[in-house]
């Protein structure tokens, strides 16, 4: 993991396209010729309106969806191989904890998959509980925790096997603003410590700017990259970062880019037939 100049990119996308068939037989270009390169150690956010394919793009990187065209590489190998090698951890918007398992056993789930011995597993689970500040909750079941705590368990689970890449699909989207900001800070602390690469999907401009080294702004139908914003705010980011003038400038810049990409959204299907991302994914999963 020691850095040297010519390491393979953490994620490399070339000409990635995806088309979904929607109800009624129509076809929607969810992703259109996406090119993107994420270097190891970067924190890259994908931001865009509903239906811009940002969640789809994340799933393409994770080899959860196979694109119809283009090349996807993770850690210098095809995405499929990277998944088989367990090169990434993933966190969804809802924590997706298995509610028959305790917190400790949820965090240990990927370790079970990797065939770790019990002692090694529980030692790592203890470490992870400390990392997300949930020590003392190991025997709780997920439904006994608040939404923010559940999401911390999901993050601990994704990091438990120290994947080089962390994929996050609007992980804090369902949380209140206070919890979200606290978890943003925690995530940055974890990112700095673990030296992992993070690809982060979000709806929130402020969140994207605060967290990321780069913000990828996308437009909808077809899903395209409008522009990539280098954030360049000093590290480590702190609560004060959110009130710096440069922070507001960047927020403004991203917002303008979003609006530039926006008209296509309104030229899309009529308002009574919205095609939110969730529905596109559902269409995909029905196959």
């Amino acid at each position: 993991m020691n850095g040297n100049g010519d390491r393979a990119p953490a994620v490399s996308l070339r000409g990635v396209s995806q088309v979904f068939t929607v109800r009624g037989g129509g076809r929607v270009a969810a992703l259109d010729e996406i090119d993107l390169r994420v270097e190891p150690g970067e924190f890259v956010s994908l931001i865009g309106p509903s239906g811009c394919g940002k969640s789809t793009l994340l799933r393409v990187i994770g080899d959860l969806i196979r694109p119809i065209g283009g090349e996807v590489q993770v850690n210098g190998k095809p995405a499929h191989q990277a998944r088989l090698d367990r090169d990434y951890g993933i966190v969804f918007q809802d924590a997706v904890l298995y509610d028959w398992r305790t917190v400790a056993r949820n965090i240990g789930l990927p370790l079970e998959m990797l065939g770790w011995e019990r002692e090694r597993r529980s030692a790592r689970v203890r470490e992870m509980l400390e990392l997300v500040e949930l020590t003392g909750f190991e025997q709780h079941h997920p439904w006994q925790l608040s939404g923010g705590m559940q999401q911390r368990v999901a993050i601990a689970r994704a990091l438990s096997f120290s994947p080089a890449l962390l994929l996050m699909d609007e992980p804090f989207g369902a949380l209140d603003e206070m919890t979200r900001e606290r978890l943003n800070n925690e995530l940055l602390r974890i990112w700095e410590r673990s030296k992992s690469t993070i690809v982060f999907v979000t709806h929130s401009i402020a969140e994207a700017v605060f967290l990321s080294t780069r913000v990828v702004v996308m437009s909808a139908r077809p899903g395209r990259i409008v522009d990539v914003v280098d954030v360049g705010l000093p590290q480590p980011r702190m609560a004060e970062t959110r009130v710096e003038p440069r922070f507001f400038e960047l927020v403004k810049e991203v917002r303008e880019l979003l609006h530039r990409g926006a008209p296509e959204v309104f030229e899309g299907p009529p308002a009574d037939q919205p095609l939110p991302e969730a529905e596109l994914l559902a269409a995909e999963e029905e196959r």
């Binding site: 959860l64 951890g89 969804f92 997706v96 298995y98 509610d99 028959w100 997920p142 439904w143 999963e285």
Partner: protein, 253 residues
């Protein structure tokens, strides 16, 4: 309630839906008192006899329950994994349940010879169906995100089954097992009839049926024992569920 209805029925001379008297509805004290009467002249007490028969039937029912439960579970897994199997076999499984058990029982007895094992098979026949349907439903109840998580771990189908699908299906399976638990007792009792097995509750019911006119409480006492056996089976499953299933409250049936 029993005594209340009986008193009311006798006082009003109810003849609908049936005439109420000591023959159709013996007093509770007569029914329970019958336990402590000799089962036949100079014979052992009825309660002892019925306890022995209940144990015999319990063994048949328990074997049938396990057999049916396992069969139902495996069929559910097979159907969940193969649309072809589900399409091809499920209709026959459904059809099998429309054939009355009384038509199946004699055939089983012919195939397996009269004995407690054939009764267990008849009991299993009555048991497996709810387990199959609910296992199938439960295995398919898994949320897409949970499956994606497993896919991100490159989990084998085996791991997906045992670490995700089966645990998610358990509340459904236990709901079916509760139905099957009581059905297995019914199946065992009915199964004893065509086999002419005298050692179980079915034999006792048939026997006391013939002597109902001379001693109504004996049949009622036997029915009480059969009911208790069913309740006991149900209770065992309910306790097992509490020990095994740790789900959010909204997922527990």
């Amino acid at each position: 309630m029993w005594e209340g209805y009986k008193a009311m029925g006798e006082a009003l001379g109810l003849t609908w839906p049936f005439e109420v008297d000591d023959r159709t509805m013996p007093h509770l004290h007569q029914i329970f008192g019958q336990f402590f009467e000799p089962s036949r002249r100079n014979g052992p007490l009825l309660i002892g006899v019925l306890a022995g028969k209940a144990l015999f039937t319990a063994r048949e029912a328990a074997t049938g329950f396990l057999l049916g439960g396992v069969t139902g579970f495996l069929l559910g897994i097979a159907f969940a994994h193969s649309r072809l199997l589900e399409r091809g076999l499920l209709p026959y499984v459904v059809a099998s349940q429309t054939i009355p058990i009384l038509a199946i029982a004699p055939m089983v007895v012919v195939w397996l010879k009269a004995g407690w094992l054939s009764v267990a098979v008849i009991s299993a026949y009555l048991t497996f169906f709810p387990v199959t349907i609910n296992t199938l439903r439960g295995l398919k109840s898994v949320e897409p995100r949970s499956l994606e998580l497993m896919r991100s771990y490159a989990a084998s189908p085996w791991a997906v089954l045992w670490k995700l699908r089966v645990p998610a299906a358990l509340p459904f399976i236990f709901a079916a097992l509760k139905v099957s638990a009581t059905a297995s007792v019914v199946g065992a009792i009915i199964g004893e009839l065509p086999s002419s097995i005298q050692d179980g509750l079915g034999g006792a019911i048939l026997n006391f049926n013939q002597f109902y006119l001379s001693s109504p409480p004996s049949l009622w006492a036997t029915n009480v024992v059969a009911a208790l056996l069913g309740i006991a089976f149900f209770a065992v499953v309910a306790v097992a569920e509490r020990l095994v299933v740790h789900r959010a409250p909204e997922h527990v049936a």
